[in-house]
């Protein structure tokens, strides 16, 4: 699969993200898959993101495969116990999914089914170990599998967590548990990210920087105040403000493209993960401005 090979050979990768629909109408998702498939190396399919119930990630991955796109299956531990997770992983493999991103998952209290019982039978570090075990032909309980998986497994990390050290310790545990690549929480301060990379480079893993497109100064402030682990520096907020209402989005696209260009040209990390959140249509334009298309 191209994503793994490209990443392992040291080439700069680009991934994007698509959220499956709330409902059975997959037209928009298909539109986004078709739009992105030749422009990015892989597409993440989110798993009931923010604990909001939607179509599952696996269906999105399968549809992507049918259309010639390479999917990354996001898997959270919120909704399935160890039996459900392993069973879905085997199913995903049989359907052709090769990349999996292991996450803990937002708590149900963030979503639209607040009365749900959160599962968390295992968590991200343990899920990585499970994937490693399935790759080695055994289930979590040590039973032999008839046919092993060969997943390329990744995890997430928040380079701007505060306090940072416990997050880094968890990162190290994820590496030890078998994570091969990381997609980070959104970053905006490249200089600070370089410091994180100096640390992360000590580990044999690939780091893909998360980028969220800023639509306005208001959005940037919202991220600063309400989204854990995201810090938008004041200069960027000023830049968006100066652009005025009409040109704010355009400036946001520019900022994103500029960051991609810098991350690639200075070889700061191994790729970028663009979380467009409702602006998937703009991803090709960002990549064009970044000189990647």
């Amino acid at each position: 699969m191209a994503f793994r090979e490209k990443l392992e050979s040291g080439e700069f990768v680009v991934t994007a993200e698509v959220g499956p629909p709330k409902g059975t109408d997959i037209e928009e998702m298909i539109h986004h898959i078709d739009l992105l498939k030749d422009k990015v190396d892989a597409i993440n399919f989110t798993d009931n993101q923010s604990a909001v119930m939607r179509m599952n990630s696996l269906a999105g991955c399968k549809i992507a495969l049918e259309r010639g796109a390479e999917p990354i299956l996001q898997m959270t531990c919120r909704d399935r116990n160890r039996i459900g997770l392993q069973s879905d992983l085997l199913g995903a493999y049989a359907l052709g999914v090769r990349n999996v991103l292991c996450m803990t998952g937002d708590h149900v209290s963030a979503g639209d089914h607040k009365q749900a019982k959160p599962v968390y039978d295992v968590e991200s570090v343990q899920l990585l170990k499970i994937v490693d075990s399935l790759n080695n032909g055994k289930d979590m309980a040590g039973n032999d599998l008839k046919g092993a998986t060969q997943f390329f497994q990744g995890a997430v990390v928040t380079p701007e967590a505060n306090p940072l050290e416990p997050q880094l310790i968890k990162f190290e545990k994820k590496v030890k548990a078998g994570a091969k690549f990381f997609q980070t929480q959104a970053i905006y301060d490249i200089e600070k990210f370089k410091e994180f990379m100096k640390y992360a480079r000590k580990y044999p893993v690939k780091i893909i920087a998360g980028l969220v497109v800023l639509k306005s100064a208001g959005m940037a402030k919202f991220l600063n105040n309400f989204v854990p682990g995201i810090v938008v520096p004041d200069e960027l907020i000023e830049e968006l403000k100066a652009a005025g209402k009409e040109k704010a989005l355009d400036t946001g696209l520019d900022i994103c493209a500029r960051h991609i260009r810098q991350l690639k040209e200075e070889a700061i990390c191994d790729g970028v993960h663009i979380m467009a959140i409702g602006m998937e249509d703009k991803v090709p334009e960002i990549l064009e401005r970044a000189g990647l298309l």
């Binding site: 160890r82 708590h107 039978d121 968590e123 570090v125 967590a161 505060n162 997050q167 545990k173």
Partner: protein, 223 residues
């Protein structure tokens, strides 16, 4: 101790609408500390029931409501009052209520409280939950602070991405369990231990309900 809270009086009256005569059983342990099963609570409930036109034939605070044999012995003195009632109200936890259910097979037994959690009392009648009786204690691996209980996700290997300035993603009022564990382990110079140990997924079979234990049997076997 077991933390209990009085049921809403209106709801309680709705449950009791088919009964007229009550006997009230409290508990001198947890429910007394919670103010839900002490003499005062019995007095209050007696007054409230009387005001609703009900009769209370008597009330008693046994030493330990979840101790079946002891409670049985103590209640012998109230044989007559108990015989007169058509419903027994238990003002302790769900365990105490089920002691009465066992002792009075022919009488309806109703709880007046909701049983909430195993709690620590931090100030007078102020409680928080620190242990959820998971059956396999891992405090030895987590600096003595329980993430199974105090992290809403029960994570075992460090904070999730939702942690913000030391607070939990679920609520700014909850300190992140994993930041607390990290800080304590750092203070105790045990960060290396935290760093290198991957805590395995919990063995939930140890918490399989209903649980029983006969401590003396174990002692005999060991001898």
């Amino acid at each position: 101790m077991i933390i209990t809270k009085k049921k809403d009086f209106k709801d309680l009256m709705e449950n009791l609408k088919n009964y007229q005569k009550f006997f009230l059983i409290g508990c001198s342990e947890c429910a007394s500390l919670c103010g839900t099963g002490n003499e005062e609570a019995i007095k209050e409930l007696t007054e409230a029931l009387t005001a609703e036109g009900k009769e209370v034939t008597g009330g008693f605070v046994p030493k330990t409501g979840c101790q079946v044999l002891g409670t049985k012995k103590e209640l012998k003195a109230f044989k007559e009052q108990l015989a007169e009632t058509d419903c027994i109200l238990v003002m302790s936890c769900g365990a105490g209520t089920q002691t009465a259910v066992e002792l009075f097979p022919d009488k309806p037994v109703y709880p007046t409280n909701d049983s909430l959690f195993l709690g620590n009392m931090t100030r007078f009648q102020m409680f928080d939950e620190r242990c959820s009786l998971c059956g396999e204690c891992i405090l030895d691996k987590t600096g003595g602070i329980c993430p199974v209980t105090t992290c809403p996700k029960g994570l075992l290997n460090g904070p999730c991405g939702g942690m913000q300035e030391g607070h939990c993603e679920v609520s700014p009022d909850i300190p992140c369990a994993w930041v607390r564990i990290y800080e304590r382990m750092k203070k105790l110079d045990k960060l290396e231990e935290f760093r290198v140990t991957i805590v395995e997924a919990k063995d939930w079979s140890q918490g399989q309900k209903p649980r029983t234990l006969y401590a003396r049997e174990k002692k005999k076997k060991e001898e």
